[in-house]
């Protein structure tokens, strides 16, 4: 016979003002199984918990119902009180009479009291069917996978590795470095991007705890927190990295020219190439889409000039498997394609370029040697118009959000333009100047005052060609006049857009993403680096637009999360998971189909007691099951049940009132 104890909380005045707590307690006492019921001012306080502990012992309770605030609030607290009294903590049920009664029915005390009584009745009924459950512990593989080798991935990998945890860093392109490697100088201090980034890149390559897998992609991720198994495709590079010295003879002699992605297509690279001089690893790869040897079997020059014989045209993609415990996703961003801006003549005029193209031009190692030039005729531009919010904050043609970094990098571009071309002038069309950050406003001031950049508040409405130059028309809203600038070059501060393969990656990892393709954090404020899937973390622009300081901060935060996850030898897991009653299981495997975590497998058991014939039944992997109950609801023979939310418990609740 069940012996239930009911503990009703006043929650100060929170409950007591709107629910007649003593009446509720009296009502609870009338329930047959309730052997003890009492109210107290603050059940969650130490004396309150002590009351529960004492009553458990004194009245030999078999389950406990606390009628107080939401179980999402204090369930853990009371469970602890139960186990302190030597009782299984899962014999607790919480009746939520605050959020679900006293706070929402403040005008009707009678109804609120009745409802509170009913909620307690339901909790009591449920608790009668509660079973003793025990926390599950799962082993952890202490190795992290970092996807993406930009500054976010580099920082996360270094931080995790510095905690002496092995890291597998997977980068899609031949070299790590990412977008930051493409930048010239960085705001707000104007330190050279290469100077601060390359030492970190070298650290990654030489770190004993980092396994760098360049030119690779994650193909599959199986398992669950602490016990993932990743399949990683190492794309064929056709170059033996072990013997290659990176001397460069091959790419100097290669006859095939391809637009250079690293320089935004401004110049060309060869079909065998290393993306940029400071690349890590500084080994070339052959671009199979363009190499004539691989396409048509003609050429073979690189193999001839390679003294080490490192070129291997027969190399194949290779799948490697790594067991890992946690993942940091840092895939970064793409630039939004501005072609919907037809009124700007994007695509029709060569002298309209994107900010990243400008960045490559003013970069010392860029295709134009650090001097901006007009793509149409190669002349050095004098009057340069920068247009901000191209794509950003534009529901009609682009995206709704603010890309966050354009205000700052456009100010930087104005300064850099002034540095590179002294007799030039920058015109900046802006809507707002968003310079919130340490040293940011000062930096914008520097652009305005030191370089004399002309800031014009208004969106540009039209660009048209007049002779050699482009006429840029917009309103100067401060002046209240339409202005027109004759420009040699127009630079569009195009919006940041998530890396295009993010949705595919998200599906592969089993995490969610928003309508643009940014990967979703578990909570926008309190869990900004976690995803909803345990053991998978986010860093950098894969989650939202960010500048370098924010990206690095988030990467370090993700690393700290990984280190925290790996702090113990095992992971503790809620025991509220599915279990199979093999007696009833028909082996139809519908549960296997619907399980979102592939937590259900099949096994063969004897057909009957001592029988030699076998039959198939379902089996739940304890470590993988997250306890959603999808399998329970679809199981027609009711062979699967969910601990903590069993059919019996829920039916008891339904029929108790």
């Amino acid at each position: 016979m069940a012996r239930v104890g009911v503990f009703v909380c006043f929650c100060g005045a929170n409950i007591a003002d709107f629910v007649d707590v003593p009446a509720v307690t009296e009502e609870a006492k009338k329930i047959k199984e309730v052997k003890y019921a009492i109210e107290y001012k603050y059940m969650c306080s130490d004396p309150g918990q002590q009351m529960i502990r004492d009553a458990i012992v004194q009245h030999r309770l078999t389950s406990v119902v606390v009628a107080a605030c939401s179980p999402r609030m204090h369930e853990k607290t009371f469970r602890k009180a139960l186990s302190d009294a030597g009782m299984n903590p899962y014999l607790l049920e919480v009746a939520n009479i605050r959020e679900h009664s006293s706070w929402v029915h403040q005008k009707d005390k009678k109804a609120a009291t009745e409802k509170a009584s009913d909620l307690i009745r339901m909790a009591v009924a449920k608790s009668i069917a509660n079973e003793q459950l025990h926390e599950i512990s799962v082993p952890v593989t202490k190795r992290a996978l970092v996807i993406g080798g930009g500054i976010a991935g580099i920082q996360a990998a270094l931080d995790i590795a510095d905690a002496r945890i092995p890291v597998v860093l997977v980068e899609k392109s031949p070299s790590i470095g990412g977008r930051m490697a493409q930048l010239d100088e960085t705001f707000p201090t104007l330190d050279c991007s290469q100077c601060i980034l390359t030492p970190k890149m070298v650290d990654v390559a030489s770190h004993p705890f980092i396994e760098l897998l360049p030119y690779s992609e994650v193909m599959e991720l199986d398992g669950y927190v602490g016990n993932y198994k990743a399949k990683i495709k190492r794309k064929a590079s056709y170059v033996n990295f072990d013997t290659c010295t990176g001397c460069g003879a091959c790419w100097q002699k290669c006859p095939v020219k391809v637009p250079n992605e690293f320089n935004m297509g401004i110049d060309k690279r060869k079909a065998i190439y290393s993306p940029f001089p400071q690349a890590v690893p500084n080994k070339p790869v052959i671009d199979a889409e363009h190499c004539t040897m691989l396409l048509k079997g003609k050429c073979g020059i690189c193999a001839k000039v390679c003294e080490k014989g490192s070129i291997d045209y027969t190399m194949q993609d290779e799948i490697v498997e790594r067991e890992i415990g946690a993942v940091v996703v840092a895939t970064g961003y793409d630039l939004w394609d501005p072609s919907p801006y037809e009124e700007y003549g994007v695509g029709r005029y060569k002298d309209i370029i994107t900010s990243l193209e400008f960045e490559r031009m003013v970069s010392a190692n860029g295709p134009t040697g650090g001097v901006p030039v007009r793509p149409s005729d190669g002349k050095v531009p004098k009057r340069v118009v920068f247009i901000k919010c191209v794509g950003s904050r534009d529901e009609a043609k682009g995206i709704e959000y603010c890309s966050k970094i354009c205000c700052m990098y456009t100010a930087k571009h104005a300064i850099l333009l002034h540095h590179k071309v002294h007799d030039s002038h920058a015109y900046i069309f802006y809507m707002d100047i968003r310079a919130a950050g340490k040293g940011y406003e000062e930096f914008v001031k520097r652009a305005q005052v030191e370089t004399g950049a002309t800031y014009l508040r208004g969106r540009v409405s039209k660009i048209y060609k007049k002779g050699e130059n482009l006429m840029v028309r917009g309103e100067d809203a401060q002046l209240g006049q339409v202005v027109e600038v004759e420009a040699d070059l127009v630079v569009l501060a195009t919006a940041i857009y998530p890396y295009k393969d993010n949705p595919d990656l998200a599906r592969l990892l089993g995490i969610s993403y928003d309508k643009y393709g940014y990967l979703s954090e578990a909570h926008p404020k309190l869990r900004p680096v976690e995803t909803a899937k345990a053991g998978i973390y986010l860093a950098g622009c894969t989650q939202a637009p960010k500048d370098i300081p924010d990206t690095v901060a988030q990467a370090s935060a993700a690393a700290a999360k990984v280190c925290g996850l790996f702090a113990g030898d095992t992971l503790k897991k809620d025991p509220m998971i599915s279990t199979v009653n093999t007696e009833f299981c028909t082996g139809c495997q519908n549960c296997v189909t619907v399980c979102p975590y592939q937590a259900i497998v099949t096994e063969e058991i004897p057909l009957g007691h001592g029988s030699k014939e076998m039959r198939i039944v379902a089996k739940v992997n304890e470590g993988v099951c997250q306890g959603c109950g999808s399998c329970v609801a679809i199981c027609r023979s009711m062979a699967i049940d969910l601990a903590g939310f069993t059919d019996m418990q829920i039916i008891n609740e339904i029929v108790s009132i």
Binding site: S70, R72, E99, H100, G510, Q626, G629, A633, I650, I657
Partner: protein, 159 residues
């Protein structure tokens, strides 16, 4: 016009059954833990008021809801059932609410076919942030069911 509609609604199911004067509908609410239950908690913390007729059961996910919880509720005390889960795409368990959505539609249509007014069983997506929406949904469902009157169909005899 409105009175006409109201009359029509009330005259459905069992027109000869009248509600006792002090009758209050009972609504069984089954909420998923991660979105709707959290949302209903937020309704509380925001002190948004709604009718006290709902009795809430917590389940981990809307996909945990077996259609016969609905049938069982309607056969016992409940005059109506509200089931609420995460918005499509927001399911804490990735896809649970999509499976649930299919079952709900079929269950609703089947119940309606055998004689339950379609407002007896309602579903909603309420996120953890939609405290106000939860109150609105509960108010709507309560009012709908109040209009329909007490449920007399296939009730458990010994209740």
């Amino acid at each position: 016009m409105e009175a006409e509609i109201k009359e029509k609604i009330v005259s459905m199911e069992k027109p000869h059954m009248e509600a006792p004067p002090d009758w209050q509908p009972v609504i069984m609410g089954i909420l998923c833990n991660w979105c709707s239950y959290a949302g209903s908690d937020l309704t509380g913390t925001s002190r948004i008021q709604y009718p006290p007729n709902i009795r809430i059961i917590r389940v981990p996910c809307s996909s945990r809801v077996d259609p016969w919880f609905i049938i069982k509720s309607l056969q016992t005390i409940a005059d109506g059932v509200l089931i609420s889960g995460c918005h499509p795409g927001d399911c804490h368990y990735i896809s649970g609410n999509y499976y649930a959505r299919r079952r709900f539609l079929v269950t609703k249509k089947l119940l309606n076919f055998v004689g339950f007014h379609e407002n007896r069983v309602q579903f909603s997506w309420v996120s953890a942030a939609e405290g106000a929406k939860f109150a609105k949904v509960v108010t709507k469902v309560t009012e709908d069911i109040r209009k329909l009157g007490p449920l007399h169909l296939y009730k458990k005899e010994n209740s």
